[in-house]
Symmetry: C3
Subunit: 204 residues, 3 copies
Amino acid sequence: MLIDVFSILAMVAWAMSGAIAAGRRSMDWVGVFILAAVTALGGGTMRDVLLGHYPLYWIERPWILGVTTGAAIFAMLIAPFIDRLRRAYLLLDAVGLVVVTIVGCDVARDMGQPFAIAVLAGMITGCVGGVVRDILCNQVPLLFSSELYASVSVLTGILYVGGLELGLDASLVAIAACAIGLTVRLLAVRYNWGTPQFTYTKDW
Amino acid sequence: MLIDVFSILAMVAWAMSGAIAAGRRSMDWVGVFILAAVTALGGGTMRDVLLGHYPLYWIERPWILGVTTGAAIFAMLIAPFIDRLRRAYLLLDAVGLVVVTIVGCDVARDMGQPFAIAVLAGMITGCVGGVVRDILCNQVPLLFSSELYASVSVLTGILYVGGLELGLDASLVAIAACAIGLTVRLLAVRYNWGTPQFTYTKDW
Amino acid sequence: MLIDVFSILAMVAWAMSGAIAAGRRSMDWVGVFILAAVTALGGGTMRDVLLGHYPLYWIERPWILGVTTGAAIFAMLIAPFIDRLRRAYLLLDAVGLVVVTIVGCDVARDMGQPFAIAVLAGMITGCVGGVVRDILCNQVPLLFSSELYASVSVLTGILYVGGLELGLDASLVAIAACAIGLTVRLLAVRYNWGTPQFTYTKDW
């Protein structure tokens, strides 16, 4: 239940970030709606396609497309002062990341996938939407150089799936994994943590 | 029948536009053939993958790949004066857009998908090929800032699927939806119509 | 057996090329691992998704993800003098290309696909990983302007599938197709062969 609520909040936050990215490129409304939907739903879609998990969740529940479109319209309406919401966005985005990661792990586990694939499915669900958004905006995906974003997703997934495989209580494990993941992510944003970069400058 | 003919014409037109885009980047022949195929077939492929509608249409009918390759060769042959064909291309492209949208709606409807998904399947079929072409050429997809392209596809899909759900005659509805969509698209190109743009310039 | 060994070697070589590409963009470790995996596994993944061939091979055998991650770490460790390995890389890459092409053809043939689709499946397996790598790095895919890369894959596939359809001995055909493809590729790299380019400069 709570997971459903947070999933939808994450979807809204991500759709809004897609709409803002579209606005940076002066896209028309159609572009804004598409980018919002792709950002919000790209991760889960990629997960389902890779796992062969049909029908896709937003095809089964088309009202989800209404949510992303509504969020895009909302982002355009409040655009003049959306920058003041940056902190709220970062919080919502972080909550969304850990919650959606757990949803993704569950989908893979329900299909009987092993540990590594369940964790990966969680990471794909949490991270791919932003990557597709950045590709459509013609820039190197932020994910590849941002503060522990994918790492937090992987950490949350490992804690969650690991806890379940140890036989711990599902709700408890979910709450603990989310809390730890969320804390790490917020600290990473606050103190600008990141994994080391790898720089290669020679010709190859 | 007529729909088949126009679908193939659209495929040819899109394959040629892919070949020309490849030529702008001085790609080699392989690149030209690939970009032609991806532009012509990307929309239907994305639709089928998202719907889980296997086998893909061009895997079932591999001669389609011969059509796109032939169209690419043709585009290279007539490249010196292909710019004079701009009007013919725009017309063919517009006809293709509405016809292919209807084909896409039908695929989703045959799978028992509801209204919103059928319309979306039509739009994906009509629009995604050009988006993939632009990504492969490393530019922001034109779709996101072009005259009512995706909007025309959505309009055609709504009219068509809506008409069918009202129980109207299928052929009649298809013809009417195509005629209206085509008219709007041609007027949009002629008078440079577009949906409003959303521009966001602040940092986020 | 030998095919398995070379497939894994190809995977390692491609994962390393993905890691190096990530290093050129100063990505963080997560970006490096993702780009390595996508480069090494993107081709087979695209083939399986297009053919509807589930479960994907790396989901069935998750240790493959360990191989790509290990290769990425190895690439970072030896980065200071990896440029001296350019020749070894080109050789490994060429061997991998022809071997992986044959694996891809086999997957399609086992599903009962006809000649053209089997050859195409081979090409997709061999070439798509590099294309996705380049898209994620925000550049026009090298494939579209490099020495006979995709052409060698298509040639190998035609020889292999053609030989099988003529009823020749499978191992013999595989070895012959690989040897010819490899020779052509190495000569192409050595003498800078390419297919002609198509350049189009007018407005359209």
